[in-house]
């Protein structure tokens, strides 16, 4: 397993937020964690990223215990978190610089991916000059360049408008075809979850726990009209029922 959590439980101020979360993520797999807002998704995210410690349970990456240790997964949020005072290329190259590469080499290394990520021409612009969709692309490239074999994405596209969002989904699936990143994708968007993932965990209840696991058995790359097929709707119905049952 690339990533595995075992029995993660966490409380804040005496209120249990998540309980006994055990999930797995295989090599090259894209797994969605689907749940309503405020259901403990971000708590779990921070624990997996090593930014906070669980009350009990473990986080394993490549079978190594990394509970409470940051720096083992690549990380991306809904907010693009591009530093406003760095040019796009320098922002994207940041993880390389943090690892000790000098600025010039890091920049050159990052620029090699600009075309593949559809970012050509934005190298010397500041983030404020880019559209929301472009900023998320840059953020994803930065996440990728962090170079960890597991990526953790917390609602990365949920701040985008519907049209930009469906464009970026298509782009995302394309890019993922080429870079094979093992990804845990956290979202509250059912359509997004079905469209992108190989497997979906449903997180619900209070405290939040895993109530269901659904395999999306549709080969990738998925066609643009996949979201309009009866198959897609069947999955959607199944998920809606699963979320209501809990």
């Amino acid at each position: 397993m690339k990533l595995e959590t075992r029995g993660i439980t966490k409380s804040f101020d005496g209120t249990r937020i998540i309980e006994d979360i055990s999930i797995t993520l295989g090599e090259g797999e894209l797994v969605c964690l689907l749940g309503v807002s405020g259901g403990g998704k971000t708590t779990l995210f921070n624990i997996i990223a090593g930014l906070s410690k669980p009350d009990s349970g473990q986080v394993l990456i490549d079978d190594e215990d990394v509970t409470g240790k940051p720096g083992h997964v690549s990380y991306m949020l809904q907010k693009d978190l591009l530093l406003p005072f760095r040019k796009v290329a320098d922002n994207v190259a940041l993880p390389l610089e943090l690892a000790g590469t000098d600025r010039k080499t890091a920049r050159a290394e990052a620029m090699r991916y600009f075309e593949q990520f559809g970012l050509q021409g934005t190298e010397d612009r500041y983030p404020a000059q880019l559209s929301g969709g472009m900023r998320q692309r840059a953020a994803l490239l930065r996440t990728y360049l962090f170079g960890k074999s597991v990526a953790l994405l917390d609602e990365p596209f949920s701040a985008l408008d519907t049209i930009t969002k469906s464009a970026i989904h298509r782009w995302y699936l394309d890019v993922m075809e080429q870079i094979h990143l093992s990804t845990l994708f956290i979202t509250h968007d059912i359509d997004e979850a079905i469209l992108l993932s190989d497997r979906i965990y449903i997180l619900s209840g209070r405290p939040g726990h895993i109530t269901d696991e659904i395999h999306i058995n549709v080969p990738k790359p998925r066609a643009g009209d996949f979201t309009l097929t009866p198959e897609f709707l069947a999955y959607k119905r199944q998920i809606i029922e699963a979320m209501h049952l809990s």
């Binding site: 997964v73 530093l83 943090l98 500041y126 404020a128």
Partner: protein
């Protein structure tokens, strides 16, 4: 085209007001409303300024070097203190009240003490300027460091960044805006600080010159010095603004343009 109008009127209105005030001042002086030896007319001040120009420049050079030395020291010192306060909670909690407390002590009041302790040379002047400028610089930097978005810091930590890297890549650049507001205030404080400390004793400088012309009741020269001091302050403030523009190129970008 329509956008140009407000900027013209916004410059025109104060210019007209200044011209009117100057004219009233000139008239009061010419018509003898106020005795000439007490309030010299604007033309007298200009004449004094031109006649005394070489002397003014010599003294200005002295005051300016004190101001720069003091300001430079204050900037370096404030960086060190603000950095330590940012990195170590204990330092922050210990130093912060002290910092506020020192601000309640009027610098003008301790200036005579500094002269007694440190003599009539350049040292008491520089020390006074450092004391005056240190506070706005440190507070500016501290709140600048604290203004860094905590999500940036989380992200950096998740990418395995060290405390120093978080400081260098996130907190330091985030403080640029506040640093320059602090520097702007401090730059004008430094000139005023130099002049005030020179009043209390010294051999050269605009403050010394001011005391000298005051004793000889040369009010026109007095006004010429005051005029010079405000010009110097204005130039310094403009220089800081220019430096800010140069060092923060991302600030010139409006988010609407892409």
């Amino acid at each position: 085209m329509t956008r140009r109008h407000p900027s013209i009127t916004s410059k025109l209105a104060p210019a007209v007001l200044i011209a009117v005030l100057l004219a009233v001042w000139q008239l009061c002086s010419d018509l003898g409303v106020v005795p000439k030896f007490m309030l010299p007319s604007p033309t007298d001040v200009v004449t004094a300024f031109v006649e005394d120009f070489p002397a003014l420049m010599t003294h200005a050079r002295v005051s300016l070097s004190e101001a720069f030395l003091g300001l430079g020291t204050a900037v370096i010192l404030s960086f060190v203190v603000a950095f330590l306060m940012d990195q170590f909670r204990v330092v922050r909690e210990a130093v912060y009240p002290l910092l506020i407390l020192t601000q309640t002590v009027p610098t003008v009041a301790i200036a005579p003490l500094l002269v007694l302790w440190l003599g009539y040379g350049i040292l008491p002047k520089v020390v006074l300027i450092v004391i005056t400028c240190f506070f706005p610089m440190t507070i500016g930097l501290l709140s600048g460091f604290a203004s860094a978005d905590p999500d940036f810091i989380h992200m950096m930590r998740a990418m395995g960044a060290s405390n120093w890297q978080i400081f260098r890549y996130v907190k330091l650049p985030s403080s640029a805006e506040q640093f320059f507001s602090g520097l702007r205030i401090s730059a004008s404080y430094s000139v005023v600080g130099a002049v005030i400390s020179e009043w209390l004793g010294g051999f050269e400088g605009l403050g010394v010159y001011m005391m000298r012309v005051k004793k000889s009741y040369a009010f026109d020269k007095m006004f010429a010095v005051i005029f010079l001091i405000s010009v110097i302050s204005l130039i310094l403030i403009k220089a800081v603004d220019l430096l800010k523009k140069k060092s923060m190129p991302w600030n010139l970008i409006h988010s609407g343009e892409h």
